[in-house]
Amino acid sequence: MAAEPWLNPVTRLRVIILVTILVIWEAVAASGILLREVVPSIVVIGRSLAELLFHPDLKWPVDIGIGGLRFAQQLWVPAFYWHLYVTVMEVATALVIGGSAGLAVGLALGANPFLSKAFERYLYYLGPTPKIVFFPVMIMWFGVGPESKIAMGTLSCFFPIVLSVAAGMRQIEGVLIRVGRSFRLNTWQMVTKIYLPAMREPIVNGVRLGMGVAMIGTLLAETKLSNKGVGFMIIDAYNTFDMPRMYAVLLTLFVVAIGANALVGRASRG
């Protein structure tokens, strides 16, 4: 056998594709076929990215009290982190609300054939409907602030979670339920000791799908009407025609999304 290859074939392919894309991008940027502002050079995007991540341009009020000591100050930070914080909190809150509602309703639908017959079909129809059409309603109900973004995220992630929980519950082996009954488990023990562990996989899949659509719902809402959040930053950069900055925000957003998915994926393996 020859010596070990420098990288394994999969990694090599990924690197090759990435480099190819960057080279084509740079070639298009240099050629001027498209407007230079629309396809800026990687160097320009890189500079913008550095500014985005490292140039402090926002006062972030910090107020920490420990015992009698108070530490109240305004820190200069890059505005990006504050916007990212807003979006992450919106998505996380949406996932908590939509996730627990989805879990509870999913368990009820899975456990009760009557409820399932009455409602589940409509959830299936409503599930793939673009939730953004509800955004005007959410603005009227919850205002233009983060609340309406959270509502959009909640609405988005509720459906995949409720449907996978309900389906997952029906897939549980009947004999495991009978084992639980034979050991005289109460309802709470049945849920925590049998249903939930047996449904771990569909639940994690539901949360994963839910997180994806919660991000979509929240960011989409932010680009429509807001004054903070990463979605706002993107649309703001677009409106001021600062394309390098827009690409820089998009890049960081990809990294955050990939990281969040990897985190949920790791949780699923335990």
Binding site: E173, R181, S182, F183, K193, A198
Partner: protein
Amino acid sequence: MPAAEPILVVENIVKRFETQDGVLLAVDDVSFNVMPGEFVSVIGPSGCGKSTLFNVMGGLLDGYDGRVTVGGDTVRGPHASVGMIFQEESTFPWRTVVDNVAFPLEIAGMPKAERIERARHFVDLVGLDGFERRYPAELSGGMRQRVSMARTLASEPKILLMDEPFAALDEQTRLLLGDKVLQIQQDLKQTTLLITHNLTEAVQLSDRILVMTYRPGKIKRIVEIKLPRPRTSEIVSSDDFGRYVAQIWADLREEASKGLKDDESRVARDGGRRA
């Protein structure tokens, strides 16, 4: 010897099911007792209502006539003194062997260290020492069935109900597991009721065998197995064993052929659409 009280009393059980072809009488007036320490098997062809009987005794099924009492209590739902072992694969795949076995102790609120130690004892009892930290997916079917058995034994039931626990296993594994059951039976003096369709298994393990008729399920005959104890699977080669098997088969054969005819006529009627 003082006359002991039966621990399980089954009185005049009648169970009907609504089916699309009308009402099906599954169990028809079945009565019997099980004494403490006794090993009783219920044998019958498929469709004789023996699994129905299992679920009735275990308190998993209601809507029947008659009465089941365990230690004098009428069974209404699963009873604390009854342990059940099911035919299907029933280990919890998300728990290790020892955590599976500790399950009933956990439900009973036993502290962790104590229940793990108790569970280890039952893991040893079914011969799975060394596999405590494995997950069911890493074990063979026979080993998984032993995990289920240990889990039920860990709850220390006064009476153990088993519904064809070895049905999915091959003949050799089945005989060897039978040995295990005989040994456990001897160590724990465990009162056991086994539902089976396997003649060898029933004769190998039992003190008494109830032979059931094909639909509706009634008790056709009760056979006392007077083979010496302690027993092992070697007993299957003895003459007495052969005589018992032949005697029970004579009763069972008629019932099994009724079942076979019934299946055939159903297939013929439905044009083979339904098995």
